[in-house]
Symmetry: C2
Subunit: 228 residues, 2 copies
């Protein structure tokens, strides 16, 4: 019987669900894994129309080996919620690995955990990491000490396999990869602003438009309030 | 206001959650998309420790444009459940696209929907498609008429983008890809039996061992009972 390995996914309303379902599907296969979905209040949260129920209350979790903070449009509300942020700080302090996917790294930043640390983030939000004293890194998975961060959304799967290899060894991680048939074959090459056709990038930026300005202002407010 | 596009994910207990959260995250962005999680009884189902709540009851859904059936170890129980299977047949009959990810294609097969059709499936289960008169295809995403099927688990993302391009055009699909930062960079090349180190494949097959034999017997029973 493997020693328990407690992995906490710290969720919040309007999280991007694939940010955590990707790594959850990878990491729940680790020896002894107890993968827990949790939120500030417990109960359930909604994400893009899917409802995640039976969540633990973060305050009720004594300790975790891995803390994973996903991203999503709800991240700005989450980082302004002291109940949520206090638990992120507490659990991170005792965790062996402090991790995030996508804009989850901005939450780690707002918790003061990324000062002087390199971190990944969704490409459209990445530069905001510097508001929290972090060093934005364009890599898909970034390791700095015990902090592992993944880039936008689907990077969570690559992050998950990287962490799986770190914890259980590369053979184990490869067995998980084979079970999940993770041999990606995207039908287009538009996954990064550097490779997407210019017209696609313009389309995405135009749609995000004023929404991104508002998000940036919200994140700047948080950064000022936490004195980073 | 875009015309509604109803996408139903037909879930069941012990589904592999990434089979449907991957394509859900892609397809919920389509113009007018109403992406519904549903099950035979409605309510909630558990999958690898995550609880999906507020599910619709399949019988209460009048019609869908896209029916998507995910895979998972629960697929053998699902295909033996007449309540679930009757709804799959009913919704498939009216759908513009009948789709699956991973072993979800075996469920489509058990519903009699794949006779003489090419289909994808998780590599370890793929040959069982022929029990239902389907033609196993090793491609990651397979199209045969209005039937689109994806391979194992993570193929659901590639399937989702392929279907998104089909429905809303390649530009729209690429914009979704960029938003999801889908530029995968697996840390290993072990995602297919053809590329995985031999020792990894042996490890995975040894672990699946007798479990796979039981599953095959269960699926053979279903194939006999439906006269395929």
């Amino acid at each position: 019987m493997a020693k328990p390995l407690t992995i906490v996914f710290a969720l919040y309303p309007d999280v991007t669900h694939l940010d955590f379902t990707g790594p959850h599907q990878v990491l729940c296969n680790l020896p002894g894994a107890v993968a827990i979905g949790a939120s500030a209040l417990g109960g359930s949260i909604e994400a893009q129309g899917l409802v995640f129920g039976d969540l633990a209350r973060l305050a009720d979790i004594e300790f975790c080996d891995v803390l994973c903070v996903p991203g999503g449009f709800g991240c700005t509300d989450a980082m302004a919620d002291p109940v949520y942020m206090d638990q992120i700080k507490r659990l991170a302090a005792g965790a062996r690995y402090v991790t995030s996917v996508c804009t989850g790294s901005l939450i780690l930043g707002a918790a003061g955990l990324l000062k002087g640390r390199r971190a990944a983030c969704h490409w459209a939000w990445r530069d905001m990491l510097s508001l929290f004293g972090a060093i934005p890194d364009p890599a898909r998975v970034v390791r700095d000490g015990n902090i592992l961060t993944g880039g936008g959304v689907t990077a969570g799967i690559d992050f998950g396999l990287t962490l799986a290899a770190e914890i259980a060894g590369p053979e184990f991680a490869q067995a998980i990869q084979l079970n999940l048939e993770y041999a990606p074959a995207p039908p287009f090459e538009a996954g990064r602003p550097e490779t997407a056709p210019a017209a696609i990038l313009e389309l995405v930026m135009a749609r995000r438009g004023s929404q991104m300005d508002e998000r940036r202002l919200a994140i700047e407010r948080v950064a000022r309030s936490v004195g980073l």
